[in-house]
Symmetry: C2
Subunit: 373 residues, 2 copies
DNA sequence: CGGCGTGGTTGAAACGTCTCAACACTCGGC
DNA sequence: GCCGAGTGTTGAGACGTTTCAACCACGCCG
């Protein structure tokens, strides 16, 4: 109870001595200094920080005063060196500039913050080398777990992480096996929703615009194709256009091709693999005097913010982005803390957000001519 | 030189024993295990990791084999508990969904990665409480420094960080005093560039669209006003519209007002405080059959990606975003490592990116009528 | 008055790494 | 055969925290 040390001047002096050798120490008070100032042991200070109810009110208050006076802030490194694991999770995304991922990140952060964890947000830029570098850093930091939209199916770095006991949850990807958690979106359903919507509006010649390299896009195409097959009832109702890239430029390219077709074979609507592509299609149509949606209806995919803000607001398939992030983070936290965690691989259902770009019902004339063509 | 310990089985057995008490240890090999396996001391292993040239090739190779065999990965927490500072910097941005910040982040990350540092990207969402929470975490992590676009002029949390010796660099903000680094953009010049461009094309009645709450927007307005005063030579050549928010909706609102004006007093062009606003103006004009740029020219600000992808590609004032991030990170690193660091407050110059939305030269008739009006 | 439980506090050990003074060995030169 | 100068290697601390067995003082019960 004897206070051997009780004002800041002493602390300063003590530090002057202690830091004689290193050129310029940042004068950071540690738990030890707090203990000295408050006249208690370090154990008690630690208790105040971690189990305040176990400390008598008087002592607690004295320690808290000391903490405030010295501007003490816990040292995470020390904390989690001791604990063996850090209070951080990693999130590795393909493209931080894509609004989709920023929303996912928001969901992740909500859950993490609620659990008192920090998130390290990393951008792989769809490059395997950057992804690997980020995973290395995360491993060194001993993160509690990693959420990742991987660049390739199976990265050895991901496997390495798993093999040392760090949970990894795949984001917006189907699991490659049962021994992992993964959150995904039912893209076949998304494609079907978009196609059904157009069929219902009377469209009978529909374009699908999207290169089929990515599994996700492939799934979307299959959904569209199945719906068209059932709904329109004949094969050539669906035409596929595959621009080089799923960008605005790619959309323009595809739209130019569509405009070039003879009127009798020209689709009256398009499902695009992506909103950027849809925006490109929209621009090119408007430029050539094709009215949207009167002459040509467009449905995008992803429902990015700019879809609603386009010259003609875009109908689009929305993935539950924030929810995707939340769920993934929850699975990760469960896997990290629950010893008998069950892997799960939820698949979210997308929804169709109808806006102006597909609002008009096709006059039945078109249906007939489509039916014959 | 005697190898007391040389195959993985021994390690496993040793761990079985060591981890009897904690329920399920992740079986992570430490520097000590590597030393044991390679038959050297821990000091030597550390040397292999940090000063490989100081170790004989034979030993080095043996240690490296051990590292590979055990899958050893350094523990950052321990590393930087010892070092006193971590190999991480913090980046706190206002809105991670804004493409501007993602580009800035890219610049920051380039520089940080080159210096072997990790970046903790935090999103304050323009909320002071979230900003404070993030800064607390960064403080606990003992980051080497923080780059921040602050929500308010002077946050006590920022000051606390500075007072404990952590460098803080302001991003896209003017410094509030000489004792700090800050990277900013000359927004008055940006406004002037936009206005001069329009004046040069023959416009004599110009609108500025932007609420004047933010200092940045205010600066832009002043630049526009000065240019118009000098170039057009009379006062009412500039009309200011202040929508509630700098969003697409805000732009529409302002455009509706403009369209409502009698033709004789209606501006023929607008400088918008922001690309989102400009996109809104564009949409509303197109919707009312006002041709852009023939009847009305538009210049945006920020040059976000969607500016180029708009229905009519948007002329915009571009800030050197990636460069902004790079420079800020460089200043931070210098402040963190150079003991006699000089604070600096560079101001970047924006450039005008001319696209279709302002491409047409105003017929001289308009100039005359404008001159009289 | 002795024994016992209880609420509060203590101090040392441990986490995994880096640093640094000290030591060992080798090789030339004398 | 001894010395000195390298060149490699070692092992003990230290970093700041948490944990935990041990301890202390106190009041209560019998």
């Amino acid at each position: 109870m004897l206070r051997r040390f009780n004002h800041a001047g002493d602390l300063m002096r003590r530090y002057r001595v202690r830091t004689a050798t290193p050129r310029e120490a940042p004068l950071t008070a540690g738990i030890r200094d707090v203990a000295l100032w408050a006249g208690v042991s370090v154990g008690t200070v630690s208790n105040v920080l971690n189990r305040p109810e176990a400390v008598s009110p008087a002592t607690r208050e004295r320690v808290q005063t000391a903490i405030a006076a010295l501007g003490f802030v816990r040292n995470e490194s020390a904390r989690h060196l001791r604990a063996g694991r850090s209070r951080t999770i990693g999130l590795v995304v393909l493209d931080i500039a894509n609004p989709f991922f920023t929303d996912v990140a928001r969901g992740v952060e909500d859950v993490a913050a609620a659990a008192g964890l920090a998130v390290m947000l990393c951008n792989s830029d769809d490059r395997a080398d950057r992804e690997a570098a980020h995973l290395d850093v995360l491993t060194e930091q001993r993160v509690q777990g990693v959420l990742i939209t991987p660049t390739a199916e199976l990265s050895p770095h991901v496997e390495a992480l798993r093999s040392r006991g760090t949970p990894v949850v795949l984001l917006d990807r189907r699991a490659t096996g049962p021994g992992q958690c993964a959150v995904a979106v039912d893209d076949a359903l998304g494609g079907r929703l978009a196609a059904d919507h157009l069929l219902e509006r009377g469209h009978r010649r529909i374009a699908f615009i999207g290169s089929s390299g990515l599994p996700q896009v492939h799934e979307r195409h299959d959904g569209v194709a199945a719906a068209v097959r059932e709904g329109a009832g004949f094969e050539d109702a669906l035409t596929v256009f595959s621009p080089a890239h799923l960008t605005v430029a790619g959309g323009r390219e595809a739209a130019a091709q569509i405009i070039g077709l003879p009127a009798g074979r020209r689709p009256t609507a398009a499902v695009c693999a992506n909103d950027l592509t849809a925006l490109g299609v929209l621009q090119e149509m408007v430029r050539h005097g094709v009215r949207v949606p009167e002459d040509f209806a467009i449905v995008g995919y992803d429902d990015i913010d700019f879809a609603a803000a386009a010259a003609v607001p875009l109908t689009s398939v929305r993935k539950p982005r924030v929810e995707l992030g939340r769920r993934a983070a929850e699975l990760l936290l469960d896997e990290a803390s629950d010893p008998d965690h069950q892997h799960s691989q939820p698949v979210f259902e997308p929804t169709l957000v109808v806006r102006e770009s597909s609002m008009v019902r096709r006059p039945s004339r078109a249906v007939v001519s489509g039916g014959i063509g």
